[in-house]
Amino acid sequence: MHEIGQQFLNLDIMLQVGPLLLRGLATTLYLCALVIPLGLAGGLLVALLLLARSRLAQWLVIALVDLFRAAPPLVLLILIYSGLPFAGIRLSPTAAVCLAFFLNTSSYYGEIYRAGIESIGRGQWEAARSTGLNGWETLGFVVLPQAVRNVLPDLVSNTVEVVKLTSIASVVSFPELLYSADMARSLTFNSSPVVLAAIIYLVFLWPLVRLISRLERKVATH
């Protein structure tokens, strides 16, 4: 028992690596601040293209969305980070991570927006248009606000997944929380830094996971 405590919950080591992990946390938050807005914007673009009346555009977007949902994010990231340099395109780790996340998360967010927009009846569009709003105004002021409310649990839940996903950036040596913790682990020969990282993730994400459960119940009873 004592041995397990020493190996996983060593407070001395946790205090010692605390500053390193806090820097990692700051980098994780910075990464989230980049990739979540990018994904939300990209997803909206995907949903709008799906609404477009051109069949060709629709098929193209569906094919791309399915392609990027089929490729595991880590595969996408490694392909961009270590494959593209062979073609002479050398991206910084931050740019590679952002590009991989953009392709992956836009596809997921796009599907969620689409489900939300489809949940709004045709009558809403027609009523809004008949009051004199044009197509874009109808979309922006009538359809999207209701659509987003209907799929809010899915949007929050996907955002939690994106935050969790930022941990894969450690694989390409991006110095975020997990990377810092893993480096501290190999320096101290002790797993407590990784436990500390796990605790930090839990502190941030557990309230959101609870919120999702609550939102899901609220939408279900709506």
């Binding site: 089929a70 490729a71 270590s82 996971v209």
Partner: protein, 227 residues
């Protein structure tokens, strides 16, 4: 050499394809095996936990909720690294594929439990009362009346979650599980050519595009309708 030829030579070199496709195929086999094992154990454990939770035993339910919340909040890669590198120093040494299979099963079980539990709680009280009044016991009602409906309701939300979690088999590369990505990156660093990486990516696409398309179909097929 034209740019097009140079592109082919970098990403689709025939000799490289010939040399490395067997190891990528080997990786495909490992990926499929682990993914299938994760789906079976993860869903079974999730279903079991949801059923146990229906008995509303206070201590049991607290433990289930904590387990579910932790594995929904924790990035799987954190759990993988923690178990793979942590356990050996307390004398427990697990093969890397067991760690990958175990962690992904627990993650899937956590999400599945939550979804099945939502299905169980959404079954109207009248159904419980009607079933009990026909002489079925609590367990029989749960098993024969409530669970079948909860499973059916859970299929659309579970489909996407299950696909996302099976794709996480790629995380195994970090601890050296010989799945597709691992084979591809190893071959790439041996050969100094991007062809194996492209082969790996294509293998994933070939493997998962049909699954994603099937998921799309299942989602609409089972959506929102309730008998």
């Amino acid at each position: 050499m034209t740019a097009w030829q140079r592109f082919l030579d970098t990403f689709f070199k025939p000799e490289m394809i010939a040399q490395y496709w067997p190891s990528i195929a080997q990786g495909v086999l490992v990926t499929v095996e682990i993914a299938a094992a994760v789906v079976v154990t993860g869903l079974a454990l999730g279903l079991l936990l949801a059923a146990v939770r229906a008995y509303r035993l206070a201590l049991c339910n607290v433990l289930i909720v904590i387990f579910v919340d932790v594995f929904r909040s924790l990035p799987p890669l954190v759990a993988i690294l923690l178990i793979y590198f942590g356990l050996p120093s307390v004398g427990i040494s697990l093969p890397s594929f067991v760690v990958l299979w175990g962690v992904l099963s627990l993650v899937l079980a956590a999400f599945a439990e939550e979804i099945f539990w939502a299905g169980i709680t959404s079954t109207p009280k009248g159904q419980w009362e009607a079933a009990r009044s026909t002489g079925l016991g609590f367990s029989e009602t749960l098993l024969f009346v409530v669970m079948p409906q909860a499973i059916r309701l859970g299929i659309p939300p579970l489909t996407n979650r299950t696909i996302a979690i099976t794709k996480n088999t790629a995380l195994g590369t970090v601890i050296g599980v010989g799945e597709i990505l691992n084979q591809a990156t190893a071959a790439q660093s041996f050969s100094g050519n991007a062809t194996p990486l492209m082969l790996g990516a294509i293998a994933y696409i070939v493997l998962f595009v049909p699954v994603v398309a099937a998921g799309r179909w299942i989602e609409t097929r089972f959506a929102w309708r309730r008998a």
